[in-house]
Symmetry: C2
C-alpha cells in the first residue's frame, strides 16, 4: 500500500533520514514550508506541519488526506471546520513544550529577582556595587493561570526553589506540583498574594482579555507578570497603563496578539516591559521529541493495537 | 553578670532591636563598621563581624574578648593566629549562603544557555527573530568543584532541572545531590565531560590557581565556567587566553583576587567574560538567617546544654 507522507515543517535532515529508515514502505516528501510542499498536497495521505500554514481551502484540495500530525500544541490557526467535516485524524505535540517553557519561566523570574539589568549596567560602567537588592525565589508566591502540563512543570521547578505554587484553571481541580488550584473565576481574588504571575493560557474566547485593567490592579507593586501562553489573554493598553502606574512592577511578554510584534509597538521600548520573540518553547530537542510522538503514532496508524498519543478532537480543537 | 556584645556588622535595626529584646541581660553596641566600633572594642566580650575587618592587633587590644560571631562563611581575612593563641571561641554563618548562591548559579546557567544577551540586543533593535539557538539545562552535565554545602544545594536544583551532577572535593566522598563525586586530583580528567563548570572552592593554598591553563584547555568549546568561590582558584591571565582561544566558551566571575575588581582590569570589558560584584550570596534573608545562628549560640554561651552551631576551629581556619 502506497502511503505518501508530506511535511511542510522543515524537519532536520537527520530526523528526516531517520523517518525513511524507520518506515521504508512509506514515501516521504520533506519541505521547508507549505509553498514548497504545494505540488504534493494532493498526494499527501499524512501531513506533518507546525499547524500555522494550512487553510480550509488546502484541506479541500488535499483529497487523499487522512491524518495531520501537528508538531505544535497551540492550534488556533488550524482549519478545524474543514478537518472535522472530512473526519481527518489529528494528533499534536502537546507536552513537549513543557520543559523549555518551564526553564524560560524560571529564567525570567531569576532575571527579575536578581536585578540582572542593573548588574549588567554596572558592569558596563566598571562600577563595583553590591547595593542592588536581590530577592530570592525561595518563599515567594507564584500564581500560574493555566494549570495544565506546562503550568505543572513550571510549578514543579518553582517548588524545587521553595516557592509556593497557586494554580488557576477551568475546573479548579488539583494538578501536580500546585499547593492550591482554584477555578479561573477566582483569579482576581488570588492575584494580590502573588509575587509572580504567569499566564500559560491557551487562545480561547474565554481567555480573551482575562488580564485586564481590573486584573493588573490586583497585583502587587513588586510583582512580575509573565505571559508565555497566548497574546489574546492580555489587554495591551491596560498592561501599559498598569505598569506605568506601578502595578505590576514589570512584565515579560513572549506572546502577542500580532506576531511578529510590529516594530512600532510601544512594548518594545517600554522600560518595564521585556519582549521576547515567542521563544519560550524553542529547544534543539523540540523536533526530536515531536518525532518520538510521530513514530509512535505511525505504528498505530499502520495497524498497531495501541492508541494514538495526543489525539486531538477536531470538533473541540484540542 | 555584665556581658558587652559589640557588632561592627551594620545589623538591620529590626534585628538589633530583636537581639535586645531576646537578651535583656546583655549590653549591646551596634555599629556600621569597625571604625565606629573602635572605642568599644576593649569592652567587647562578644563581637559580631562580617570577618573582614579584624586585625591581629585588634584581637590583642580586645582584652575582654571571648567569642567572635562571624556572619560570613569565607574567613580568609580572619587573624586566626592571634585568635587561637587566646583560645577565643569562633562561630560563623556557614550554610546560609547556599540558597542564594545556588539560585545565582542556576540563573547564570539559564542566562547563558538561553542566549539572553543576543535576545536583549534583538529587543533593543525591535528585531523579531527566533533564530538564536537556545539550549535546555535538561540532560546537561554540571561539574561543581567544591562539593560541600553550597555545591550540594546547587546540585539539588540542577537535578530538579534534569542535569547530571558531578562533584569534586578533597575526599572524593559522596555528597547529597551529586550523581558522582571524585577527589580533586581527578579534576582535569572530568572537565571534558562538563557543559557547565562551577567553582565554589574556598581560599586555601591547595586551591591556588587550580583553574589554570591546563584546566581550561580540558573544557568544551561551548562550556560555561562560573567562579562563585574565591578568586584565588582562577589564574586570570590563563582564563583570558583560554576564552580568547575558545575553551571554555564563556565565563562568569563573581569573585576576584582583588575586590573590588580594579576599574582597569581586562575582565570588565571582555565580551566572553561576565563580571558580577561578589553578589552571589547576597540576600535580604542573609542577616535574619545569620541571627538565627547567633540566637542559638547565645543560648549555648549563656549555659545551654546544646552544642554550638557552626563552631570554627581557629587552628584550621574552618
Amino acid at each position: 500500500m502506497f502511503v505518501a507522507v508530506v511535511s511542510s515543517a522543515g524537519l532536520r535532515e537527520d530526523l528526516a533520514d531517520d523517518l525513511k529508515r524507520r518506515f521504508p514502505q512509506e514515501t516521504f516528501y520533506f519541505f521547508r514550508n507549505i509553498k514548497e510542499a504545494a505540488p504534493y498536497l494532493g498526494e499527501a495521505e499524512i501531513f506533518i506541519t507546525y499547524g500555522e500554514d494550512l487553510t480550509g481551502q488546502d484541506i479541500k484540495n488535499m483529497v487523499s488526506l487522512r491524518w495531520i500530525m501537528v508538531i505544535s500544541a497551540g492550534m488556533d490557526e488550524m482549519p478545524f471546520e474543514e478537518i472535522a467535516a472530512r473526519d481527518i485524524l489529528v494528533t499534536n505535540a502537546k507536552g513537549i513544550h513543557a520543559g523549555p517553557m518551564a526553564e524560560y519561566a524560571v529564567h525570567r523570574m531569576l532575571h527579575y529577582s536578581r536585578k540582572t539589568e542593573v548588574v549588567q549596567k554596572q558592569e558596563q560602567e566598571h562600577y563595583w556595587s553590591r547595593a542592588p537588592v536581590m530577592e530570592e525565589l525561595r518563599g515567594k508566591q507564584l500564581l500560574i493561570a493555566g494549570a495544565g502540563a506546562i503550568g505543572s512543570e513550571t510549578a514543579r521547578l518553582a517548588q524545587a526553589f521553595g516557592m509556593h505554587t497557586i494554580g488557576v484553571n477551568a475546573s479548579g481541580k488539583h494538578v501536580d506540583h500546585f499547593d492550591q488550584v482554584y477555578p479561573v473565576e477566582d483569579l482576581l481574588k488570588h492575584l494580590p498574594r502573588a509575587d509572580f504571575v504567569i499566564s500559560v493560557l491557551p487562545k480561547m474566547p474565554e481567555t480573551d482579555g482575562l488580564f485586564s485593567r481590573a486584573a493588573f490592579e490586583k497585583m502587587q507593586e513588586h510583582a512580575l507578570f509573565i505571559n508565555m501562553g497566548r497574546g489574546n489573554a492580555v489587554d495591551d493598553e491596560a498592561l501599559i497603563a498598569a505598569v506605568d502606574e506601578g502595578r505590576p512592577g514589570s512584565a515579560v511578554l513572549d506572546v502577542f496578539d500580532t506576531e511578529p510584534l510590529p516594530v512600532e509597538h510601544p512594548f518594545w521600548d517600554h522600560p518595564k516591559i521585556t519582549v521576547t520573540p515567542h521563544l519560550s518553547g524553542i529547544s534543539p530537542q523540540y523536533q526530536p521529541r515531536s518525532m518520538d510522538i510521530f513514530h509512535w503514532n505511525m505504528e498505530v496508524y499502520r495497524g498497531g493495537e495501541e492508541s494514538y498519543w495526543n489525539l486531538v478532537d477536531p470538533e473541540k480543537g484540542y
